[in-house]
């Protein structure tokens, strides 16, 4: 069992190392991720949302629905813990 786990881990690691060959270098300002979607967030945040903190404006305005999902995740986890941990009261027979 441990041998199978070790083999899976090594294979996954080799696959990941294989995939890093075409990745952009660390800190490259011309990588695709820095050029396509996010410049608009930085440049237009003051006129569209009047918030200087760009992370806040993306979190609460441009992608606010993901934040709603995130609070739902916390709520789900909380009620799940209650559901799982609640002890059954002894039935009086």
């Amino acid at each position: 069992m441990r041998a199978l786990a070790l083999l899976t881990v090594i294979l996954t690691g080799i696959l990941l190392c294989f995939g890093t060959q075409d990745m952009p270098d660390w800190g490259d300002p011309n990588s695709p991720a820095s050029v396509h979607v996010s410049p608009r967030y930085i440049e237009k945040t003051l006129e569209e949302t009047a918030t200087p903190n760009v992370v806040t404006s993306v979190l609460a305005d441009y992608r606010g629905y993901d934040t709603l999902g995130e609070t739902t995740v916390i709520f789900t986890a909380g009620v799940s813990c209650i559901l799982v941990l609640r002890k059954r009261r002894r039935k009086q027979t």
């Binding site: 990941l16 890093t20 820095s34 996010s38 967030y41 916390i74 986890a77 799940s80």
Partner: protein, 126 residues
């Protein structure tokens, strides 16, 4: 070759961390060690995302001198990419929630079987 390794060293770090977490998740028998493995695994993914956000020479994505200088133009290359940080705020919350529910389930298992080793639980369950 050395240049290839050095210029992408953030990726090698996260791969090593992720594989340690992955091995702990599937190779260990103790339930708590498996949960710690989940945590390490997800932390490595968060590290990967955040490391894609950095730009050489960029600063934090908070626009300086915001109020009062309305007509100043903002260059995107001066600030680092904010989008992965936003995604990872959500992912950290998800990670903590999963940890909470997993620990609650382990508490339930401990109440029932009085042990936390997977092979002993499987024997008790037969």
């Amino acid at each position: 070759m050395i240049d290839f390794i050095l210029s992408k060293y953030n990726y090698w770090i996260y791969i090593i961390l992720m594989m340690i977490g992955f091995y702990a998740m599937i190779g260990k028998k103790n339930l708590i060690k498996k949960i710690i493995g989940i945590n390490i695994f997800q932390t490595a993914i968060i590290l990967f995302f955040v490391s894609t956000a950095s730009k050489r020479g960029g600063t934090l994505p908070i626009i300086e001198h915001a109020h009062g200088h309305a007509a100043q133009s903002v260059h995107a290359a001066a600030y680092i990419n904010p989008l992965p940080h936003v995604l990872m705020l959500t992912a950290i919350v998800v990670m903590v929630s999963t940890l909470g529910v997993a620990l609650a389930i382990v508490m339930n298992i401990y109440r029932r079987y009085d042990t936390l080793e997977e092979d002993e639980i499987l024997k008790l369950r037969r």
